[in-house]
């Protein structure tokens, strides 16, 4: 009987380790794959990508809303000196600018109904600054949502997006 104690202990340790690692690494792995998929679909690094209207044929992210205009910007602030200048253009209805880190946390959201808003995104570990947000991780995604349930409203949201900005600041 005692000869099974060793393998049993190994089984329990591996089960606990596998369980914890899956929970710890799972979101980051899923986010990493999602960012790769977005890149393959043409979502740019450090620029907002003008989207197609969400339909069953164009959807690329789970549970996308067909009533919203989404513009995505991937970012990578591995260089400590880099900052990202982000601006959301004015829109007469609901819109928001939301920031997601590499572990899927929504670490900041700015609601900007009928107005523009601008903010700088700083690399992890940066000192807090007025008008700036510090990203918890070097990589992440910035997402603009605009309420645009109809085709006409979506076209207007695309036109408004010409003044959105997501670019490396000097």
């Amino acid at each position: 009987m005692r000869r099974w104690f060793g393998p049993l202990a190994v089984l329990l340790v591996c089960a606990a380790g596998g369980h914890s690692l899956t929970l710890w690494l799972g979101p980051a792995v899923i986010m990493d794959r999602a960012m790769e998929a977005l890149a393959q679909r043409g979502v740019a690094l450090h620029a907002f990508t003008t989207p197609q209207r969400i339909t069953p044929q164009t959807q690329s992210v789970v549970r996308s809303s067909p009533d919203l205009f989404y513009a995505l910007c991937r970012y990578d602030l591995h260089d400590p000196g880099m900052t990202l200048a982000v601006r959301i253009a004015a829109w007469p209805d609901y819109q928001s600018l939301s920031f997601f880190d590499a572990r899927t946390d929504n670490f900041a959201t700015i609601r900007a109904v009928s107005k523009t808003a601008a903010v700088r995104l700083l690399p992890p570990g940066s000192a807090p600054e007025e008008g700036a947000i510090v990203s918890p991780t070097a990589k992440g995604v910035i997402l603009i949502r605009r309420l645009a349930p109809s085709g006409e409203q979506f076209d207007a949201a695309v036109a408004a997006s010409a003044d959105d900005r997501c670019q490396i600041a000097p």
Binding site: P7, V13, G17, N106
Partner: protein
């Protein structure tokens, strides 16, 4: 000696499998698990976890949301309620017809969208994926969930045109209710202030 090594290798493989499997199972990610229809907030059959999108989410919620609700907003900006059962407790499925109805909701804007078991919009071209506050207006509203466009046979156009959400090619599905810019009371006392839509099964094809 070889048998001993094999026993340890088998224990490692089994342990890792059990650990990964239990993590996925407890996060609701094994095949057959419902998607986002979970959470500690239950309002008339609609479920939510207000920790979605935040660092406060427990690791199981975080993993589940990463798979089925990636890029979801934190609760101050939007809350998401999901249901996969009708009012009688039966799973929502493409072969049935449902009547969904409700009224105004305590948020700047709301929508109800149908997703398949992969958390994707079902593969059809009906252009009837959701209903929203703009369509519903300020009063009571009703809509049909079914795989075919509802037929309208009437001598004149009715004053109120009912809505339609297409379940064509959805299989077993769920509904997500989004409340954007929700009133503060939705977060503090959702059962008292939120009157979410009812989902009544009308009939089914067998």
């Amino acid at each position: 000696m070889i048998g001993r090594v094999a026993a340890y290798l088998a224990a490692m493989a089994a342990g890792c499998g059990i650990g990964i499997g239990t993590a996925l199972g407890m996060a609701g990610l094994l095949p057959g698990s419902s998607t986002l229809d979970f959470g500690d907030v239950d309002v008339a059959g609609w479920h939510s976890d207000f920790a979605i999108g935040s660092e406060a989410a427990d690791p199981y919620t975080r993993l589940r949301v990463a798979r089925h609700g990636l890029l979801a907003l934190a609760k101050s900006e939007a809350v998401y309620f999901t249901r996969s059962l009708d009012d009688d407790g039966a799973p929502l499925r493409e072969t049935c017809r449902y009547r969904i109805g409700g009224g105004a909701m305590p948020a700047a804007w709301w929508s109800v969208t149908l997703y398949n078991s992969d958390s994707m919009l079902p593969d059809n071209t009906d252009n009837a994926m959701s209903i929203d506050a703009e369509w519903a207006g300020p009063g009571r509203w009703a809509a049909t969930i079914q795989p075919r466009r509802p037929e309208l046979i009437a001598p004149t156009r009715p004053a109120v045109v009912n809505g339609w959400i297409s379940s064509r090619n959805a299989g077993t599905f769920d509904l997500t209710l989004r409340l954007y810019a929700p009133d503060a009371a939705v977060l503090s006392d959702p059962q008292s202030v939120l009157d979410p839509p009812t989902v009544q099964r009308v009939d089914c094809e067998e």
